[in-house]
Point group: C2
Chain length 115, copies 2
DNA sequence: AAGATTGATTTCGGCTACGTAATGAAGCTA
DNA sequence: TAGCTTCATTACGTAGCCGAAATCAATCTT
């Protein structure tokens, strides 16, 4: 496995390179908040609820609801009622979302390797 | 100097951690595009023009103009007429902008170190 | 000097996200 | 079962960014 040494200046360059690649790809779909939410759902252990995400990210619940609307429509994740307590909505991963995150990881990996 | 080994999964976690920190800080000011523009200005050698940035980032010129309006108002960078060819606008760094980028670098460094 | 070209900005109508507050729906309590 | 509490969503008015096309200013061409 390829690996690198990473210092402050290089991590900044990594952020620059990846941001640049995302912008060039026309990746205007997700806001910073939406991407953060997506990563939490895919990198933190489930279950995820609206309230939980809102609290974890330090934003209001409508922010989460709207992000779920948008990303749900993109099929990047999925809402499901919690059958144990039907007030809750459980956010679940999807195949498309997993692919999206995987592509981001590939991009990061590629840019990190090029440092 | 602290340094780490970075693979695909870890770089993804780094992105997650930094995104999360930015969202939690209420860092809702800059869009992904704006941040990308800012980093280009601060990490790539000058001079930077509207046309040059637009071409480099693969966006239209009005996108750059508007981003400069916004970030100029935040004092993150500065417009200046090019005296050699007064059609051009040269984008210059500012103290506030440098501090902003530096804080991002610190954040990245901190999160990278914690991996 | 007239017209074409180049660089940046402004205008336009449209879309998306925002925060706050109100509403809806489910579960809990007494 | 009536009334709180909790979770999520919707409503509402505001603000910002979008792309495309029009405009403005400076320079170049001939």
């Amino acid at each position: 496995m390829k690996s690198i040494e990473l210092n402050a200046s290089q991590s900044l360059k990594l952020w620059h390179d990846v941001s640049l690649a995302l912008v060039r790809d026309g990746n205007r779909d997700l806001t910073q908040r939406q991407l953060a939410i997506l990563l939490v759902v895919y990198l933190e252990p489930p279950p995820h609820t609206v309230r939980g995400l809102a609290q974890y990210l330090g934003v209001t619940k409508p922010v989460i609801t709207r992000a779920l609307d948008t990303m749900g429509h993109m099929k990047l994740l999925e809402r499901r009622r919690d059958e144990k307590d039907r007030r809750n909505v459980v956010i679940r991963r999807t195949v498309d979302g997993a692919l999206y995150v995987e592509r981001l990881a590939d991009l990061l990996s590629e840019k990190a390797g090029a440092l």
